[in-house]
């Protein structure tokens, strides 16, 4: 006995359902954006990027005072962002004391702007629905 082949054609989605299922414009669609999203899932890193977006540069101590984290914690987060080339780090000496200055790179600025667009798009899309 031949097996019944049951190929059911999917019913066509109604216009309302198609609108609900439509992709949200501005959501991350490339691997760089996804990588950035994973990186700033950690709040302190997102805070570092945001603070540097409004300041030309911030020192290690200024970032530490802003986010009230330990030296080791801040170093680790900053290094991750540096490795991803979102931050640049300059070390120098000022009156024999080490001074570390962080700046946002062009790549970091554009990644942060795209991330902000994504977040706003999610909020807009959810509230529209």
């Amino acid at each position: 006995m031949a097996a019944k082949s049951s190929v059911h054609a999917e019913p066509a989605a109604s216009p309302r359902k198609r609108a609900k299922l439509a992709p949200v414009p501005g959501l991350p669609h490339n691997k760089d954006d996804v990588a950035f999203d994973r990186l700033v899932y950690e709040r302190v890193r997102l805070g570092i990027m945001s603070a540097l977006a409004v300041r030309d540069e911030l020192t290690f101590n200024e970032l530490k005072a802003l986010f009230e984290v330990s030296d080791g914690n801040l170093s680790a987060h900053a290094r991750k962002l540096e490795e991803a080339k979102y931050l640049s780090c300059t070390k120098s000496f000022e009156a024999r004391r080490p001074r570390t200055v962080y700046r946002l790179t062009a790549l970091g600025k554009s990644a942060l702007n795209r991330y902000l667009d994504h977040v706003e798009a999610v909020i807009k899309a959810t509230r529209r629905g």
Binding site: L46, G47, L58, K64, L116, I123, T126
Partner: protein, 204 residues
């Protein structure tokens, strides 16, 4: 026999709640990075200068020189405030240069400049009665503007100065020195204490 109850209904979590809190965190980080942390010691120091000026000008011997004493006290208080702010920032490894301090000065200076000009005009016209109220009012306006780059607490302090200024303009001559003392002495001391307790008033 098992008794099965109704499944508990949990409140639905809005799907955009994380996105909204993320945006709030970003905004808070940006505001904190762009603001100036005013230490409580600044208010305390300036308040003490105000009280000393009040004590000097209340005495009959020095009362005729009240305008010079208070102008001199304003210069001393401003310098002391700047030194304490710079020292506190240095102790915390912060630099007092760049965008935040520029914005703070831009917010403070117009009203203070206007106060100086109006003081000169009133003094030339012999209308010394209006000077204390004008100082309190315009200093209050300067602080309200400065709260944009500092904290809400500074804005509240500015509001209090503004109200005191309006009151001073309505009161007789005999109470003007006390109004100056209440404002530049009392309010500075009070808010210096409050800001010190809140930890520089920083709100992140």
């Amino acid at each position: 026999m098992l008794k099965l109850g109704k499944p508990s209904m949990q409140a639905a979590i809005p799907i955009d709640s994380r996105a909204a809190t993320t945006l709030q965190y970003i905004r808070a980080s940006m505001d904190a990075a762009a603001s100036v942390a005013v230490p409580g010691s600044t208010g305390t120091g300036m308040g003490l200068v105000g009280l000393i000026a009040t004590a000097l000008t209340v005495s009959p011997a020095l009362h005729p020189y009240w305008l010079s004493i208070w102008v001199g006290s304003a210069v001393v208080a401003a310098a002391l405030g700047a030194i304490l702010l710079a020292r506190q920032s240095s102790q915390r490894g912060l630099r007092l240069i760049g965008t935040p301090i520029r914005k703070l000065l831009l917010c403070l200076l117009p009203s203070l400049f206007a106060g100086g000009v109006i003081t000169g005009a009133l003094w030339s016209a012999g209308n010394l009665h209006a000077i204390p109220g004008t100082w309190l009012l315009l200093y209050g306006c300067a602080l309200i503007s400065a709260s944009v780059t500092t904290t809400r607490t500074i804005g509240v302090l500015g509001g209090a100065f503004t109200l005191l200024g309006v009151l001073a303009l309505l009161l007789p001559d005999s109470l003007q020195i006390f109004m100056l003392g209440a404002g530049f002495g009392g309010l500075h001391l009070l808010f210096g204490f409050l800001i010190g307790r809140m930890g520089h008033g920083r709100q992140v």
